[in-house]
Each structure stands twice: as C-alpha cells, then as structure tokens.
C-alpha cells in the first residue's frame, strides 16, 4: 500500500559527509580502521567531538565496536541496518525525527571479502567468512539475479550491449574528476565491449569494483545542523521498497518489482521529481540496474534507457548530462568510484548540495534524487534538498 504520509519531510538534516577514498586491492587495513578514519573526518568537518554524538549506526562493523573504538561516551540509539546505504540514512533519520537520538554518526565500510571478490582470499584475515561447501551453480540468487534479468531485458527489447556500456563509460568519465575514486583510467567502448565475460550477458565492467574504504555521515535536526560548519542538506523523503514476489527468479516482470514501489511512494512523499531534480544518482552495482532505474523513475520508456543515455551523453568524454543539465553519478558511481553499496552516492549528493564537490560541482545544484539498490529486496530511494 502506497501512502503520501510523510511527517518527517525536511525535518532531518545531513550535516556532513566524508570519505577515506577507495582502493581496488586488498590493503593491510581492517574495516574498523577505515570506519574510524571516515568517522573522525566527518566529525571534524562538522566541528563535532565524540561526546556530541548520541546515536550510531553503520554496516559491517558492529555499532558497539564503533562506539568503543571512537570513545563515544553515551549513545541512546544504535543499529546495524542492512545495505545498501539508504537503509542507514532512513534508520538514522527516523531516530532523529522520533527523538531516539539527536546527533547520529552513520558509517559504511565497503570491504573486499569473498562475497564480492575471490581475490580477497589471498588475505588470510579475510577468509573466516568462507565456511562449508560451495553452493550449486544452478541458481539466480543474489547478484546473479541482475544478470538473469539483463538477459530478459536484451531479449524483450533487442538492445545492443553498448546500451549497458554507456553506464560504465559515464561512471569512468566522472571518476576521472574524483580523487577518491578507485578506477580513474579512461575507458573506451571498445575496451568495455571486450572486457572479460563473467556471466553472460554481463562482463567484468558491468559489475562494480570491490574496494576497501569507508564513508561517514552526521545526521541531525535542521536546527542543530545550522549551527555546524557546513550547509545542511535536508532529507525530504526516504523509501525502502519491496513487493511480495521478491525472489530473483520469481520476480513478476522487468517493470514490476521493488523499484516500482520506491518510485510510486517516493513521488507521493516528495515535493519534486525528475523535472525538479538537479542531480540524479541511480545505483550501478550492475550497469543493468541503472538502465532499469532510469526507466522506473520515468526519464524514458521501458527498453529506452540506452537510447536515452545515447541522446544525453557527450560522445567525446562519455559523460551523461541529462537534458544538458543533470549529472548522473558525478562521483563515478559504484562501477568506477568503487562498490560502496550506495554510501558513495549519498556522500557525493551531500557534497554537491553543499557546494563543495570541487571539480565535479554542478553549478547551483539544490535538489538530488538518489535511487540506490537493485530490484528484488533492496530497492531504495531518497530525495534530498539544500536547506
């Protein structure tokens, strides 16, 4: 059931966001080390000290560990929401709006582990998660589901592989301007098309880059945020959308899944939609997810996302500027900044709306639409605006 009720609208602010930058190799650092660096950085950027924090949430690293490590004297709310990171944004915003906490430190530590890269196994400290026996190959479970529905998409609309490539090339062109990005070397369509096939029809460059690193955010009331060092960014609405048939191989169709719910609900709860969005952040854990989001939010019709990107991209640079105005994943996205499970998308949205995105700054950007997550059990959307 979709409802327009949204008492939280513009009542919670993101006061700051910070990153460690990302590395596409196993490093000799732990997830805790990255989380600490990002958390300390965002507290300093905001002018806060650990005793100013009374709410804590993040992924991978338990909140209890983060609190002990950062010496936060007392918290009145904490949690470890699932990924992608809109779950963390939504949980922290709910905590602030309800009064469970006043100033929440929210972090995410992308980390190279066996679930996202087999090369992580070269580091013995990354091995403990891999126990027991490998599952059977005859499954569409997890990441494989996106490859499966990409096959259906190509079958249904007869689109060429280049349409997926436009997503990868946009990410790489934008990452060139982002010092935090893991993959910054130029990428051509020929190189994209000849990348190693992993699961047909998707190749290595259709899949996000496993990285080490962290992002962190301070989420609080607009009043408190105004007293801090950076311009507040208001959370207008947040939706974690899902339907009952959320198993990868039982999903009803290319159009009917969690993204449809996110779009219907987020539209109903927000004051602006794509015509009023200055920035667009579609998830790109797989290139196909971006094509699906572009169609779901209404930039174009079903099967038309590739043609839409072709018409809205600069051929020479590969960069997409929707309607000549709206950058798409200006930080490089998961495909090129790094597989941050959405935290990078939110960090960049905050920096753009604060006007501190450096060489990537979209002039005068005041609103952002962020649609993280995939299709089955983690489709999410958040609308943000500068206060």
């Amino acid at each position: 059931m979709i409802s327009a009720r949204n008492p939280m609208k513009d009542k919670v602010a993101i006061a700051g966001a910070a990153t460690t930058g990302f590395t596409p190799h196993n490093t000799d650092r732990s997830p805790a080390s990255y989380a600490a660096e990002a958390c300390i950085r965002v507290m300093r950027d905001c002018g806060l000290k650990p005793s100013d924090i009374n709410g804590l949430c993040g992924s991978a690293l338990p909140a209890a560990t983060a609190q002990a490590m950062l010496g936060i004297p007392e918290v009145t709310w904490f949690g470890n929401p699932s990924i992608p990171f809109a779950s963390g944004i939504a949980a922290a915003a709910s905590a602030v709006h309800s009064g469970l906490a006043d100033v929440v430190l929210a972090y995410h530590t992308p980390y190279r582990l066996p679930w996202n890269t087999a090369n992580s196994l070269k580091d013995p400290f990354r091995r403990p998660q891999l126990q027991g026996v490998a599952g059977p190959p005859e499954t569409m479970f997890g990441p494989i589901g996106y490859t499966a529905w990409a096959s259906r998409y190509m079958h249904a609309y007869g689109v060429p592989k280049e349409h997926f490539g436009y997503v990868a090339l946009n990410g790489r062109a934008n990452a060139a301007l982002n010092p935090a990005a893991a993959m910054r070397a130029p990428l051509t369509m020929d190189a994209y098309l000849s990348a190693r096939m992993i699961r047909w029809p998707l190749n290595l460059l259709d899949m996000d880059v496993p990285v080490d690193g962290a992002d962190a955010f301070v989420i609080t009331t607009p009043e408190r945020a105004r007293d801090l060092k950076l311009p507040p960014v208001l959370i207008q609405a947040a939706v974690l959308g899902m339907i009952d048939r959320n198993e990868e191989d039982q999903t009803p169709s290319l159009a009917e899944h969690g993204q449809r719910v996110v779009v219907d609900a987020l539209k109903a709860k927000s004051d602006f939609w794509i015509d009023g969005a200055d920035l667009y952040f579609p998830y790109d854990g797989f290139s196909f997810i971006t094509l699906s989001w572009l169609e779901a939010v209404g930039y174009c019709g079903r099967g038309e996302a590739g043609a839409f990107l072709a018409a809205n991209r600069d051929e020479a640079s590969g960069r997409v500027l929707i309607n000549g105005r709206v950058p798409m994943n200006p930080h490089g996205g998961a495909l090129s900044e790094g597989g941050t499970q959405g935290s990078g998308h939110f960090r960049e949205a905050v920096h753009q709306l604060q006007g501190i995105a450096g060489a990537r700054q979209a002039p005068g950007a005041r609103t952002a639409l962020v649609t993280t997550g995939g299709m089955f059990f983690n489709a999410q959307g958040v609308t943000l605006r500068r206060a």
Partner: protein, 148 residues
C-alpha cells in the same frame, strides 16, 4: 524417500536445507520435482514457505509438477562455484523456466544436451534428471515442440 534429516543434509551438501524445503529435497531422491501447492486455494508457490502467501493457509503440500515449461531467463556462467561435472571453460547455462502449471511459477536449473545458441528465452523445455555427487539434480532439456 525414507531418509532421516541428517541423511538428507549429507546427501545435499552445499544446499541450505530447512524444515520448509526438506520435502522438496526428499522428492529429488525419488526423481520427483515437488513444489508447494495450497490445498485450500490451489495456488502454487516456489521456493517453499510454511504457508500459502495467497490465502495464508498452512495447508501447503509439496506436489509433483510435470516439469514442462518455457525458458524465462537465460544466462551463461564463465566462472562459478566448483560443482561435479561442471567445467566453466565452456560457458555453463543457468535458466529459469516458467512452468506450465501456473503463470509466474518458475524453477531454476541448467539445460543439458543443447548448444549455447539453442538455449534462448522463449524456448520450450521439459524436465529431466542427472546425478551430481550422489544425488539426483532436476535439469531441463530442450523440447522439440514449437516455441511460444
């Protein structure tokens, strides 16, 4: 088949067995593909759950399907988990088949005995069985009937 829970887990190493899908795996030992069907509203649903999502009845019964259907999703693994008889040097097909029993009722496995070019979305298939690591595995074979 009359096999203990311990024995069932041993026969299907690598699968996540639980109380709700044990009957499905017991059916495999008899080379029967059992999917849950509601005894009250008649709806089929997979994977196995303790109740029917259509009418919330607990009266769900693992019931054999004929296994005829149409390929709905089709991918080819160039790498993947180690499995007996699977060599990823030749891209390994994994398909989701929409079964004739009910629109939207789907089962995922591989296709045997067909070249890659022939394994495409829309092709008709039928159920077959192979052995893997001492347990029967339900698979599909292209059906000579017309595409739909």
């Amino acid at each position: 088949m009359d096999v203990s829970d311990e024995g069932l887990v041993r026969r299907f190493r690598g699968y996540a067995l639980d109380h709700d899908n044990a009957a499905h795996f017991r059916g495999r030992l008899d080379r029967r593909l059992l999917l849950n069907r509601c005894g009250d509203c008649g709806q089929w649903r997979h994977p196995p759950r303790p109740i029917c999502p259509g009418c919330l009845s607990p009266n769900v019964t693992p019931t054999a399907v004929a296994g005829d259907g149409t390929i709905h999703l089709a991918i080819f693994l160039h790498q993947g988990p180690p499995a007996d008889g699977v060599d990823y040097a030749k891209p390994y097909p994994v398909v989701t088949v929409e079964l004739d029993e009910q629109p939207g009722l789907r089962f995922t496995s591989t296709v045997i005995g067909a070249p890659k070019e022939a394994i495409t979305i829309g092709r008709r298939v039928s159920l077959d069985w192979i052995e893997r690591a001492g347990a029967p595995l339900p698979v599909f074979r292209l059906n000579d009937g017309s595409d739909r």
